[in-house]
Each structure stands twice: as C-alpha cells, then as structure tokens.
Amino acid sequence: MGVGIQVENLNAWYGTTHTLQDINLHIPANHATALIGPSGCGKSTFVRCLNRMHETNPIARATGVIKMGDLDIYKDASPVEIRRRVGMVFQRPNPFPTMSIYDNVASGLKLNGFRNRRILDETVERSLKQAALWEEVKDDLKKKSGASLSGGQQQRMCIARALAVDPEVLLMDEPASALDPVSTSKIEDLIFQLKSQYTIVIVTHNMQQAARVAENTGFFLNGKMVEFDSTHKIFTNPRDKRTEDYITGRFG
C-alpha cells in the first residue's frame, strides 16, 4: 500500500546554486501527483530528494523535513532503506546491460542478497505482469539481455524492476519523454492502474500527460513551487498568473 509524503521547508543546493527554495507540499497516498514546469526549474531535484538520490552527488545537499507517514526520511533511516521503499523510474530506460530480463527485474532483490528461487520467480512474474510486459518477454526471460528490448519495453522493464522490491512510493522522472506515442500511452495506462496500490509522483514536460494521469499537479518555476492544487483546478482555473502563462504556452 502507498503512503503519503509530507514535505516541509525543503531547500536544496548544487554547489552554490540554490535549486530548491522552501518547498512545502503534501503528496497524498495512493494518488498520482504530477510535477510540471520548464527545464531547470527543480522538478527533478525535488523527486531526487524524495528518495535521497540527491545526496549521491558529492556537491549536492538538502535541508528541511520529508516525512513518509511518520518516518522522517533524513533522520530515521539510511538512504539505502529509503530507496527500497521509494522506487524510482528514470528519464531514459537504464537496464543493466549484462543482465538477462529476469535478472534485471530481480536485481533489487538479488543484489540485496535475496536468494529464494521460488519467491524470485513469483516476484519477477508479478512485476512484469504489473508493468504489462509479461506476455512480450515471458519466453526469453533468461535468454535475452535487458538491453536487447525496444526502448518502450526497456522502460516498462525498469518499472517492473522498481516494483519488484515492493516500494510504497514510485517516483517517475519524465518516464515517457524518450519514448514514442504508443509506448507513452502504455506507460500512462500503467500509471493509471498502479496508483491504486502505490503513491506515484511523476515529473513531466507534457501537460496533457499530467492532465490524463494525475489527480494533483504542482507547478515549479525557478526552484520554487508556485502552485499546488487538483489537476483540474490547475489546468482550468489557476490561482497564479505565472501558472496560467505556462500552461497556456506563453513561456516555457
């Protein structure tokens, strides 16, 4: 089951650049939340703070409080634990090229020392079915490299890989921006189905996509969150002039 996320006074820096300024936000459980805004506005930095990937960059740092349910992710747990509970799908599909499709999906469990064959088999099948890829790959699970799939299939495999560790939150950083329209619509269908079980945060440049998949939408600009509201409200009747300018295509 998904869990809600509470963000309080989040600030983040890359070196001396202040990339996120005083972000306050509640991401409700078992809903899809979209983050929109022009390139470089801090959306990606924001989601990377949610699973503490931000700190893998030595010049990056962040302050503030992020709570998953009751858990303060910066105080009460190690980054490794957080990342097991907060899955991430990246902008470009990033399969492990040396691993088979099976090993790619099972990697989160296997690389953490999990060896039970039967449970691994079940998890791989369940995750690939959840990611709507099972039918296409079930015959060459262990024969083919994960890198041999098409771009859209690779991305769905990466989603399956993230789901296999049974996270509560799924972060998606422009998951369809490198894909063709058919693959994109498959990913969107997936998000639609997955949000009943996971809390989903999706960064997107495509405003129609945000409107199609997300209940709530946040608009970021120059490191600040300008507006956060129900998707319907943001796209039909935004409070802030800048949000309106952006969604009507006057800039960005």
Binding site: N51, M53, T56, V80, E81, I82, R83, R84, R85, G87, M88, F90, R92, N94, P95, F96, P97, T98, M99, S100, S107, G108, L111, N112, D140, K143, K144, S145, A147, S148, L149, C158, R161, A162, V165
Partner: protein, 299 residues
C-alpha cells in the same frame, strides 16, 4: 501528404567532372593507405611467428616438454622445468597483481574522482608503467632478495606483479569510466548499497575491458627476462618451492641464446616458440571463457 518528389529550396550546382574525379581518387588513395598501414602492423607479427616456427619447430619433441636441461656436451634435454617454473611465477604474479590492480582501479574510478590522493595514485601508476624492467629487477633484488638472503620464485612473482599493476589499474579505471552513470543510479535507486553496486553493476558491466587489460599485462610480463635475472635467478633442475631459485622460460632462452653451442641455440629457438604459443593460448582461453556467459543482445 503530397506525393511530389522533394526539391531542394535552392538548386544545388552540379559538381564538375573534375571535382568528382578528385574526390574518388582521394577516397581510393586513403583506402589504399589504410590497408597498407594495417599490413605493416601485422607483417612483423606474422614474420616473427613464421621465423620462430622455421627455426624452432624442428627442435621440438616430447623430450623438450618432459626433460630438464642436459649438461653441457650431452645432446638432448628439454625445458620442462622452465615451462613449469614460468607457470608458477606467472601464477604468483597474477595472484598478487590482478586483485591489487583492479582494486586500485576501482578506487580511482568510483571513490577518488577529482581528489588529490586519486591524482597522486594515477600519476604514480603512469610513472611505474614507464619504469624499465631491469630497474624493477634491481629494486626487488634489494627489497626482497637481499632481505631473504637468497633468490626465490616468490621474488620473481613480486617483480612481475608490480609490473602488472599499473597497466591493470589504468585499464580498470578507464573501463569503469565508460560505464554510464545511469546504470549506477538504477542500482542505487533500488536500495542497493554502493559497494554492491560497484561489484555487481559497475565492475560486471566493465568486465570485458578489464579482462583485456589483465591479459595485456599478463602477456607483457610473461616474456620479461630482466626482472627475473636478479629475483627468480633460474634453475637447471626441478624446483617447486616458492623460496628457492626457480627456472623460467625467458631466463632459459637467454642463457641458451648467449651460449656458444649450436644445440643450445636450437633449444632457445624452440623455447621462444613455446613461450609465444603459450601466451597466445592463455589469452585465447581467457577470452573464450569470458565470452561464455554473454547474453543475446547484450551491449
């Protein structure tokens, strides 16, 4: 969509017959030059092999692989102890050099990017790579042999291991830096600890290149004579002890080649042929072994 053929916005001038001919001639010229260069690169290797077979193959017989050297004046004899000795020294060298080399490369690529210590190690490795092998021999002579008070297989192994390390370290670092950052992020994002990501993702992805580096280093030291002169020393008899002088193919070839006897000269040629073939076989075997686990469509 119209079905009319596309026309360029500004009509291109038709190239003159002269410029077309010039372009084609140039193209052919460059192709011929490339092929010639390739032949020039391969020719010495083929020449060496052919000459070795011509000079050495006739002296190869079963005794060469089963007997130890015969005393001066007696015909026959072989290099069995040298072949085994070389095997032992190279095994020792690989056992020490490969893990240390790879570990240092991993440190440089994954943990010490842009640090002063990292740059210092990188510089040291490059300098060490340029140290003449005879200098390495003398250094190990004073550092190991003088302390032990006798020559030994171990000292030979250490000398060759130190010669292997810089090549392996630098190749490992280079190969790891070609592994896309996105793949490391994928593993970290799944909650895989950094050490595990380095071992199972970065190193595994870079392994074909790292294996090539190890093979290069191995092949390079397999034929080294100078570092063994003052360390392994050579031995006319069987020896399997690590703290005793031991025979090695390059040493035996050296001794035989500078001797005044025709019989020994022939044996030196045979030894050279065996040495080259052994290196080629070892490199090929490792390649075949390393390629066995590669999946369909893996890049």
């Amino acid at each position: 969509m119209s079905t009319q053929p596309l026309t360029p916005l500004t009509p291109q001038p038709k190239p003159s017959a002269f410029s077309t001919m010039r372009r084609r001639t140039m193209n052919q010229l460059i192709t011929v030059l490339s092929v010639l260069s390739t032949v020039l690169v391969i020719a010495p290797l083929v020449a060496i092999l052919v000459y070795l077979i011509y000079k050495g193959a006739s002296s190869l017989n079963l005794a060469f692989f089963t007997h130890i050297p015969a005393p001066v004046g007696e015909p026959g004899g072989g290099m069995a102890n040298s072949i085994v000795g070389s095997g032992i020294i190279l095994f020792l060298a690989s056992l020490m050099g490969i893990p240390i080399g790879i570990a240092a490369g991993v440190y440089l690529a994954e943990f010490a990017r842009g640090t002063i210590l990292g740059n210092a190690i990188r510089f040291t490795a490059d300098v060490l790579n340029g140290v003449p092998s005879i200098v390495m021999g003398i250094s190990i002579y004073s550092l190991v042999v003088m302390q032990q008070k006798h020559f030994s297989a171990l000292a030979g192994g250490i000398a060759l291991a130190i010669m292997m390390v810089p090549t392996i370290t630098r190749t490992t670092e280079e190969m790891l830096s070609t592994v896309p950052h996105a793949i490391r992020e994928a593993a970290l994002g799944l909650g895989v600890p950094k050490w595990r990501t380095v071992l199972s993702v970065s190193l595994r992805t870079a392994s074909p290149g790292i294996i090539t580096g190890c093979m290069l280093a191995f092949a390079r030291v397999a034929g080294e004579t100078a570092p063994l002169l003052f360390t392994a020393f050579g031995n006319q008899f069987w020896s399997f002890k690590l703290n005793e002088p031991i025979a090695a193919l390059p040493l035996q070839i050296y001794v035989y080649a500078i001797s005044p006897y025709d019989e020994w000269h022939r044996l030196a040629w045979a030894g050279s042929l065996v040495l080259i073939v052994m290196i080629m076989v070892a490199v090929t075997l490792v390649r075949i072994f390393a390629n066995r686990g590669v999946l369909k469509g893996a890049s």
